[in-house]
């Protein structure tokens, strides 16, 4: 891997990790909210 490729590799990996973290955080909040709504029934 050339140094340029390594920079690109790290950039993409970081982008994916960030995207996945945000998705997971979103679902944590969503399920928290759903749970409260279902308990309220």
């Amino acid at each position: 891997m050339t140094p340029e490729e390594e920079i690109e590799f790290k950039r993409r990996r970081k982008g994916r990790n960030t995207a996945l973290a945000l998705v997971l955080l979103f679902f944590v909040i969503l399920f928290y909210a759903i749970t409260f709504v279902q308990f309220g029934k």
Partner: protein
Amino acid sequence: MADSAALYLPTDWRDFLSLTKPRVMSLVIFTGLCGLLAAPGDIHPVIGFTAVLCIALGAGGAAALNQWWEADLDAGMKRTAGRPIPAGRLRGIDARDFGLVLSGASVMVMGVAVNWLAAAILAVSIVYYAVIYTIWLKPRTPQNIVIGGGAGAFPPMIGWVAVTGDVTLMPVLLFAIIFFWTPPHFWALALFVQTDYAKVGIPMMPVVKGEASTRRQILGYSLVLLPIAAAPWFIGETGAIYGGAAVLLSLTFLFLAAPVALRRAGPGDPMKPEKRLFGFSILYLFALFAGLVADRAYYGQGAFA
């Protein structure tokens, strides 16, 4: 194997996002949301949001599976050759797994958070699009667009059932509207966009049955669309706001479809009537479903009651 950088570089997250066909999804979200807002009964905003999210995730999963299956066809067509899999930015099996996870998660969350009938219809719509349409019928029959239209017709029905928990005539009518709208919408586009479907062996109607037959069928479907779109008004499920909008919009649709059906285009034709019909067909669907929600809200039915 590792001669291309794409093979060992991680796929950019944007390529996963583009697998879900975000532009198609906007129409899916809109019609699904309209079905949900027009349905009688109330739904908690969080549950309603979850239902629309699941419809969108299911559509995204089905789109990813579609691109996994059709990667070799996409590679042969100019319009689709730049998609993530044929362009080598994403591995086919990653797209398959991504599609399966999205589809499975959307159905399970819909079932647990909303209701299992909506989840079942969502599952049927995903299998319908990814298996019955993509794998089985698209490469085999020029009626593929008619059949594919069925996949796009599910979202308002699922949105409705998410609220009511049962299938009545209204969600079936909403399904029928999109079902009969799709062929004239897509074939108008097929007439003026030079696609390479023939090159990769997909039997699109203008290629198989010829332009004249396609134009006649556009008019035929537009004629059927008028009574179907107005049916919710005739059976008394909606008021005059929707009824007036449906009749006016469908008559305009017919008025724009007639010149498309009655003309023949030579080489170098600017295809203005076809482009007009296609442009209007998109506006038609948005306006019709917006009219439905407005009508139900005005007469004190649906989510805004």
